[in-house]
Amino acid sequence: MIPALERAVELAIGAMLVGLALWSVLVRPRFASIVGFVVFGLLLMLAWMRLGAPDVAMTEGAIGSGLAGFLLLSAAARLRCSEIRRARIGAGEPQRARDRSPRRSSIVALGVGCAAVAAALAAAVAALPHPAPSLAPAALERLPELGIGNPVSGVLIGFRALDTLVEKIVLVVALVGVWGLAAEASWRRAPSVDPSPEIEPIRFLARALPPVGIVLAIYLLWRGATEPGGAFPAGAILAAMAVLVLAAGLGRLPPTAARSLRLAICAGPLVFLGVGGLGMGVARGFLDYPAGFEVLSIKLIEVLLTGSVAVVLLLLVAGPPEEAASANGMRRPEPPL
């Protein structure tokens, strides 16, 4: 009975995921699309849990439906405001309307094409060897050399440390790219998450939740060595807490030029790179950890990475520094009429 039940749950989650994804793509109101996306993220978390990947589930929850949902709603608000403004001015309206309504035939063609790709993928997945070849046993076998118990962390920070390192640099570069969107005049100023106009309940939340969040983040980081968790989910939760505080108007971001801010951004990847480079001298090669100090090095890197991830994610959500215009368009100045 239980296998049948599990199968049923898998099917149900799968069907909901596909349906929700389709709906989110096809539904016209932007807001509905975003809510669909957030719910999709929630269901995806369940799916990842079902697949036995709690690390991925955690990251998906924190990034996919948490921070991304916040970001998307902020963007939607901004777009919405400019649309409302344009609607009054009345410029370019009919053309936009035409642009946005695709012909039925092209929708059908797209659907057929996507279905064909999906069918090919399904056929390929069905043709994969069974049981699938896996490196998991090999990873487990060599895990003790790193002195940690969580194989996912082992892969991330040990066996494939290079990938992790480059991913973190990607984050930093993405942040620089976002800052690059700033207007010349506001470059180097402080980015901001504008406080919500309705602050009492939010302010309460922003006072109550962050302590718990910080504890949770530390807990996840600490657990990451042996159990699912680690730098990325911990960083994401810290970032979410910080966003909450900013949205409640309880704090303000430093300017992007601030040295401490930049140090926080770069510390994780730089130390990672430095420890990795040290490996060329004192260990068996680049990105190898000195014998006897594996756990220490890994902990150091993880802690700093958590900080960097948190700051970078927070700043990514906050967006480019803007002068006299808010991230969600609430206080954008009037265009001249």
Binding site: D99, P102, S106, A109, L110, G113, C114, A116, V117, A120
Partner: protein
């Protein structure tokens, strides 16, 4: 990279190339340009010198074990190099005076600087083409000769010059493309990594893609040589350029196409492989193979002869209806190149090369290059002479006029001229059949055209009735004109199997004379009868092309614009991505099922 250390011959070649290139480099400084322009005549002298010394075909070989990049001269190439170098040199001395008198050229070329740049680049390319012994350097120098000529054509900056230059450059680029393909095909047949022309041409008859190779070579080189129907740039470009530039364009530059055909057509292919077949043990196999090669060679021979004569007659006919003497001369160049190509084509036939003392194919090459030499000098002299006549008053034109007439008729084979010698040398190649008759007809046609040219000379208006041409124009021209009469008499008898005396034989004299008379009479008859001549614009077929091309390009642009617009929208981009994905997956499926 190892190169055979150049001997004296190699040094001469390098010097010949280096002088124009060094002058070109000096032109980078604007202050040097006027001086360089005044010394333009110097640039080609080292090349003339190199043509006179015995350089040898392998004067410089880079990478002898591999690509075999070669510079050198054999006799046909030396002959043409010498003739064109003489022309370049004379025209170079002529140019400053002409430029000063005419005062033409764009606003930015009061000192002749841009003319000098184009001239020197072209000259270097032209010299290089004659001394290149491998495909790559030939291609490089061919491009160097072709593309800067744009500057010569456009020099006047008039509307006609712009149009002519645009068409010229476009055709030159297309020609380069064909040539590249032809060369790649030639190289594919090469037995080893060598790109030496002699090696790849020897291997050509047995290459798998030999016909395609010859076709693309003909397209690429024929475009430069002005073969119908790719000739139309020529009657546009030559008249548009300033006079000395026309002279080198018509006299020297189109010879780069001719020299390409001379060195790259597989003369004596069938003979050579027949010899191998007879000597080899498997005679039957060898003979059947050589039979196939002979068949292939004779088919191409017939095709090239046909192209040549069509070009010869079409050039003459189209030229006859023109009135601008420069245009007539340009068409005459088309016609003459047709004749030379016909000689080459006839030589390609298996029978043509059997009784040669110079080795298979060599005699054909020599005859063709001698004919080209004659044309280069005469045509150069005719163009320069036009400038001299234009600078001379009506009263003082007599001597110049007579010389021009003689030069012109020399192209038709007037006895005792170089033209007659060239005809005599070509006669055995054409034989007595259809080809011989056509050759005779082409002489008549040339005479017709040249008579027309001489009568058109009268329409040129001089500055005053009694003006005399400045010495800077007259002297170079006279040198070239005299050279055009004398040089063939020096070169031809030694290069070909025509003894000097043969030209004085009464039969030969008569044979040479009466086509000229016939042509002249015909021309006079047409003039007298006042038959209205059809009005064909310069550049004949390019005119309808120019009219229809916009429609064609508009269609293409419409397509490109539609594709652009379709992919530019967000949705279009998405559909394109999906389409590529689905298409590739479908093709993968097809490939999977098939393989």
């Amino acid at each position: 990279m190892s190169a055979i250390v150049p001997g004296p011959g190699g040094a001469a070649l390098l010097f010949a190339l280096a002088v124009p290139l060094a002058m070109l480099a000096a032109c980078l400084r604007a202050s040097c340009r006027p001086a360089i322009f005044r010394c333009l005549g110097l640039a080609a002298l080292p090349a003339l010198l190199a043509a006179l010394v015995d350089v040898g075909p392998d004067a410089i070989v880079v990478d002898p074990a591999g690509l075999q990049l070669t510079l050198g001269l054999d006799r046909p190439r030396a002959i043409l190099l010498g003739a064109t170098a003489l022309l370049w040199s004379v025209a170079g001395w002529y140019a400053p005076t002409y430029h000063r008198r005419e005062g033409r050229g764009g606003l930015d070329d009061r000192d002749g600087g841009s003319l000098a740049i184009a001239w020197l680049a072209c000259l270097a390319g032209c010299i290089g083409v004659f001394i290149a012994g491998d495909l790559v350097s030939f291609y490089a120098f061919f491009a160097l000769a072709s593309l800067p000529a744009y500057g010569l054509v456009i020099h006047d900056r008039s509307a006609a010059a712009r149009r002519a230059a645009g068409i010229y450059l476009l055709l030159a680029i297309i020609g380069e493309a064909f040539l590249l393909l032809g060369f790649v095909l030639l190289a594919k047949g090469s037995p080893d990594a060598s790109l030496r022309i002699s090696t790849v041409v020897a291997a050509l008859p047995e290459a798998a893609l030999r016909s395609q190779a010859v076709l693309f070579l003909l397209l690429g080189l024929g475009m430069k040589a002005g073969l119908v129907p790719l000739h139309f740039w020529l009657p546009l470009a030559h008249p548009a350029a300033p006079m000395p530039a026309s002279a080198v364009l018509s006299g020297a530059l189109i010879k780069t196409g001719i020299i390409g055909l001379i060195v790259m057509l597989p003369f004596g292919a069938a003979t050579a492989s027949a010899g191998v077949g007879a000597a080899g043990a498997a005679a039957v196999v060898g003979q059947s193979a050589s039979g196939a090669i002979a068949q292939w060679a004779s088919a191409w021979s017939a095709a090239i002869v046909a192209i040549g004569f069509i070009t010869a007659f079409a050039g003459a006919g189209l030229g006859f209806v023109q009135s601008n003497p420069k245009t007539i001369l340009a068409y005459s160049s088309v016609s003459q190149m047709g004749l030379i190509v016909a000689i080459l084509g006839a030589g390609l036939a298996p029978a043509a090369a059997t009784d040669s003392t110079n080795g298979p194919g060599e005699s054909i090459r020599l005859v063709a290059s001698c004919a080209a030499l004659h044309h280069a000098l005469v045509k150069g002299a005719l163009f320069l002479g036009l400038g001299v006549i234009a600078a001379t008053g009506h009263r003082r034109r007599r001597a110049a006029g007579v010389a021009m007439a003689l030069l012109a008729l020399s192209l038709a084979g007037l006895p005792l001229t170089g033209g007659a010698l060239a005809k005599l040398a070509a006669k055995p190649i054409f034989g007595a059949g259809i080809a011989g008759a056509l050759a005779f007809g082409s002489a008549v046609a040339s005479a017709l055209l040249m008579t027309r040219f001489v009568s058109a000379l009268a329409s040129i208006v001089g500055p005053t009735r009694s003006a005399t041409a400045p010495i800077g124009l007259a002297l170079p021209w006279w040198i070239l004109a005299v050279g055009a009469f004398i040089v063939p008499w020096i070169v031809l008898p030694s290069a070909t199997e025509v003894p000097r005396g043969a030209a004085f034989a009464p039969g030969a004299l008569w044979d040479g004379l009466w086509p000229v008379i016939l042509g002249a009479l015909l021309a006079e008859g047409i003039r007298r009868s006042r038959t209205p001549l059809p009005r064909i614009p310069e550049g004949d077929i390019v005119v309808p092309l120019e009219r229809d091309l916009p429609r064609l390009t508009a269609a293409a642009e419409g397509f490109a614009g539609a594709l652009d617009a379709a992919t530019r929208s967000w949705r279009g981009g998405g559909i394109a991505l999906l389409g590529v994905l689905v298409g590739l997956i479908a093709l993968a499926l097809v490939g999977l099922l098939r393989g």
